[in-house]
């Protein structure tokens, strides 16, 4: 089933449309949305995460190969360390008042 799916460009076109929609949505939220800045930033980060998932699923075929479970665990672990690094650094360096 997966096989036939990947043999048609439809799958990729859907992915491309999604990524365009998400990009312009992020732009609109940033420039035009009538909401506070903090909320705008939160929304665009969420949109970026969706965009990430779109790339993984539609273009990168994350669910292929005979080790896909480990591929996904590896990715999640990477994201865990990435979040710890970014959030931890910001917390430590910018919110470090007594």
């Amino acid at each position: 089933m997966e096989q036939t799916q990947h043999h048609s460009p439809k799958h990729h076109i859907i992915g491309f449309i999604w990524s365009l929609l998400l990009t312009f949505a992020a732009l609109w939220v940033t420039l035009k949305a009538p909401i506070p800045v903090g909320l705008r930033l939160t929304i665009i980060v969420i949109l970026a995460i969706f965009q990430f998932v779109v790339q993984l699923v539609y273009f990168m075929h994350i669910s292929e190969g005979d080790s896909k479970v480990f591929q996904i665990i590896n990715l999640l672990y990477g994201i865990f360390v990435a979040v710890a690094t970014v959030a931890g650094s910001i917390w430590i360096m910018l919110y470090n008042t007594m």
Binding site: N74, F80, Y95, N96
Partner: protein
Amino acid sequence: MSSLFSFKMPEHGFFVTGEPMIYMADVLIVLVTLGIIFVLTYFKKWRWLWDEWLTTVDHKRIGIMYIISALLMLFRGGVDALLMRTQLAWPGLNFLNAQHYDEIFTTHGTIMILFMAMPFIVGLMNVAVPLQIGARDVAFPELNAVSFWLFFAGAMLFNISFVIGGSPDAGWTSYTPLAGNELDPGPGENYYLLGLQIAGIGTLMTGINFLVTIIKMRAPGMTLMKMPLFTWSTLITSVIIIFAFPVLTVALALLTIDRLFGAHFFTVTAGGMPMMWANLFWIWGHPEVYIVILPAFGIFSEVISTFARKRLFGYRAMVYSMVAISALSFIVWLHHFFTMGQGPWINSFFGVSTMLIAIPTGVKVFNWLLTLHKGRIEFTQPMLWALAFIPSFLIGGVTGVMLAAVPADYQYHNSYFLISHFHYVLIGGTVFGCFAGLTYWWPKMFGHKLDERLGKWAFWVFNIGFHLCFIPMYLVGLQGMTRRIYTYPAETGWGPINMVETIGAFIMGIGFLIFCYCVYYSARFGERDVTGDAWDGRTLEWSLSSPAPHYNFAHIPKVEALDAWWHMKKEKGKKKEKPEPYKPIHMPNNTGMPIVMSAFMFVAGFGFVFEWYLLAIGGLIGVLLCMLWRSFNDYDSHHYVSVEEIKKHEMAS
């Protein structure tokens, strides 16, 4: 940034001058180099060296080269340690001046962690892991050679600093702004940055290589929960390497860019944040501690189970506790700088997460003890190292929890209490683990055992020296002696304690020398290992002849249980199987690309160290060309081992 074509000299000249000890080192380096060249030429061994070793992609040989390098670095780092202990033996000595002392504690720390502990551990992984999982090599043998040679290039680059250009002197943590260009110009710190960078890239590749090997190349039937614990610890370590080393790569690159190209990441001016360096360094640095200790845990598990003649107690708990440690290792880094001035919330969070690590570690200690319980214990050399590890690590661990208590840390931090704590975990854990692993797998590597009597002498002397050196450090630390001071006044009253420490350090040195003699003696007279199963072992490496043939397994074994080889030995009498016919084995060719590419990397690194950009760019182009060459020429890089050759090997053993 100077121009592309300028080859400016460092302020103090190209060669380091003015120290009699350094001149002696110069002479020694020249003599040893000439000696090696003479021996190789006289015995016509150049061809052999190139074909059999320098271009090899065999994981067992790469492992041996890692271990030889690690022992050399242990010697270098050990000499540094003894020089420091001599200077501190008595108040007010001037054996080393302040600058020289700074340089030596910097190189001691950096070499011991990055160029001794890491390659030792990686070497043992190379020697044992593919054999333990029933594989014929690692997943990417050529990449494995690249890893080794990059490590070697990085180590050499770092090591030449003390005779060419000057050593780094800002501590192994290289904190900014002290390590920045304003306060510490010149090649010294550049050596640190480039040496670690090159070796670190090699380490990252090792992590990827071993993760893929273990996930994808296990013998049929070996499920994850039937893997030997050393393999498990290697798997977890690989995961930590993969996610921690990129942080080091970036941190080193940023400081290099600061120093060479005038950026402002860690500077005091233009909005830079010097403390950001400490933050990034320890995001890598703390996981690094687990990278060097977890494989040691794996080794102790193998050794204790083998010589207690029992299955390891609590196998699953051992695995889960390592998984827990790997995740926790990424959220505790701030405990290395509690006193940097964060608010109580941040310190509390990291204090608690640090203490949490004691739980899985405690689980492991109890499991080792319960494995020993009612075992038929054999006090061989590897077992002695493993048994000595438990109390040492306990002392190191408990003092670690004391340091994790934030308010108390304000008292302990930066003192000899801390120094003793991390030496107790790193020597008592990692170094003891390396020696346990080395003596345990020695027969597998070389086909003979290490002499028991001499080995035990080395063990006891080293151990007595170790405790004599480091127990007093806790005391003198609590009395207020801070780290990284090159001398102290007599009124402090620290003199006698320091003298005891220095005596202990020299006894450790004697222990190391006895070990070296033991290696020589055993090579000539040691008990030959004819069975391949020197210790009546439990895991698959002992099912092979010693040393193992280059293709490892003529038939890939079928695994039915944990401790697969033990299980096979027990089942042997019950069922008789017809031996299957041999089939040709597909193996990778040797290649000179890794060493050539690493040589270019060394040249590039040297160019950046001296800010000779033409040289640096030339080196980088060389590296790129090697990669391009490889991309176009990897289509027939394999050969088949014929059935006749396999038969010849298998008959001989």
